[in-house]
Amino acid sequence: MTIRGKTAIVGIAEVDTFETRGRSPAGLAAAASKRALADAGLELSDVDGLFTTSSYYSMPTLTMSEYLGIKPRYTDSTALGGCSFIAHLGHAAAAIEAGLCDVALVCYGSTQRSDRGKLVSNAEWLAYEQPYGLLHPVGSFGLIANRHMAQFGTTSEQLAQVAVAAREWALLNPAAPYPKPLTVDDVLESTPIASPLHKLDCCLVTDGGAAAVLTSAARAQDLAKPPVYLLGTGEASNHRNVSQMPDLTATEATHSAERAMQMAGVTHADIDTAHVYDAFTISLLILLEDLGFCPKGEGGAFVADGNIAPGGSLALNTNGGGLSYTHPGMLGMFLITEAVRQLRGEAGVRQKPGAAVSLVHGMGLTLAAHATAVLGISP
C-alpha cells in the first residue's frame, strides 16, 4: 500500500504576505482557506478534513473550525514548527486514502509583523537552556553557523551569497516587499545579531496566511485547476532543543528526503524546482547539503558558484523565499504554494519552463524536525 499519486493539491492561496490590515492570525488563515477552495472550485462546506498548527492557538483545529463554521470529521494539529504543513500533506493523503476524509484543508495564518517583530510562541523552553538568554531562534543558528565554519571553512561571504540569491529571485516576484538588489557587502555590513549571523542572514518578519486543498486523485480530475499530485512524503527528527542536537552540521533532512524521493521514485536529476526552508542563510546551506544537492561541507562553494541564483543549476525558492519574500513565523505553507504555482505554470517571469516535478522541504525549530514532499504534474 502506498499513498504515491493517490491525492492531489487542487487549490492554493496566499493572503497579506507582508503586512495585513486588520486580519488576525485566524482571519488570515480563514481568508486563505476560502480563496484556496475557490481556486479549486470548492466550498467551505466541502471540507471534511482540517490540518493546521499555530504559535497563537493551543488547539488550532478547533479555533479554525469555529472561525470557518465547519465541522470536519478528521483533524490533525501535528506541531513540528515550520515544516508542520509539509508533514500535514502526507497525513492528509493517508487520511484521504483511508477514507477518513475526502477534502482536506491545510491552512496557516500569522501576524508576526503586526506583532512588531515580537516572536509569538506558545513553546516551552528547556530548564537547562532557559536561564542563559539564548536568542530563539537566531542564537541557535549562530551556534550552528560557527560550527559549520570551523568544520568546513564556510565563510560569511558564502552565507551572504544565499541572501543575495534569494533577493535576485524576489526581484522577479511582484509580491515581494523589497524590490531592490542586495549585495554581499550589504549583508556583511548589516547589524550583527548572533555571530556569525547578521540581520540580513535572517528571514523577513512578515504577516501572512496561506492554504492548500487536497483531495483524491479521482476527484481532482473534475475540479477547476490541473491537479498537482503528491508523489512522495517523508518525515524525520532527532531533537527538540539545540543543546541536544547530536551534530550541529548534519540533520535528519537526509532521511526525510530519502523517504520522500524513494516513495516518489525520483532522483535529483528529476527535480525541476526545489523549495527549501530558508529561515537563515546557514539553515538553507546545510539543508542543500543534506538534501543531496551538493556534498556535505561544500554548501558554501555551491552557493558562491551561483547555483541557486536565477539562471543557476537549481531553481530554488523561486518566489524569493523566507529571506526575501515572506516569513510569517512559519514558512512551510509558502514553500508548498510556490511549488504548486511552478507545476501549474503560473509562476510568471520566474517560471521554470516545463517544470514537472518539485521537491518541497521544511524544517522545524533549529533543524530539529524535517518534512519533505515530492509534487508532480503526473500521478
Binding site: 570551523a150 548572533a194 555571530s195 539545540v242
Partner: protein, 140 residues
Amino acid sequence: MTTPLPPKPTPRGEERVYFDAAAENRLTYQTCDTCGSTVFYLRDVCPHCGGESLRLRDSAGVGKVYSYTVQNRASHPYFADRTPMTLALVDLEEGFRLLADLTGADDVEVGMPVEVVFRELDEDVTLPHFRPRGREEEPK
C-alpha cells in the same frame, strides 16, 4: 529604575535534582547501569537503551567549546546591559554537552579549553557558567 529579574527555570521532577546539585556547586550528569552510556540532561529513562537504572555523577566541569555565538541582542530585559554576550555549547570530558554563557573569552574559538564556574543567580538558583581554563578573573 528597578533591575529586571533574570529568567528563571521552573524545574520539575528529575530537573530539580540537577538544580539542587548546582546549588552545591556540583555539575551533574548520569551514566546508564544497563548500557554504560553517558546521559545528559538528567533522565528517568536512558535514551540509548531504555534502561531505567541511571546513576547520578559529578562532572569535573572541564571541557572544550564545541561551538559558540556572540549575541548582540538581548533575549530578555535582564541581559540588556550584558550584551554582547557569548554563549557556548561545551563538550565536557565525561562525554556530555552543556549550553551556558562563556565569560572572559573575547578570543573564543571552537576547541577552546574551558571550565565551569558556579554563580548564584538569586537565593533560589545557582547556575553553572563557563570561563576559559586557567583564567581566574571574575567575569563581569
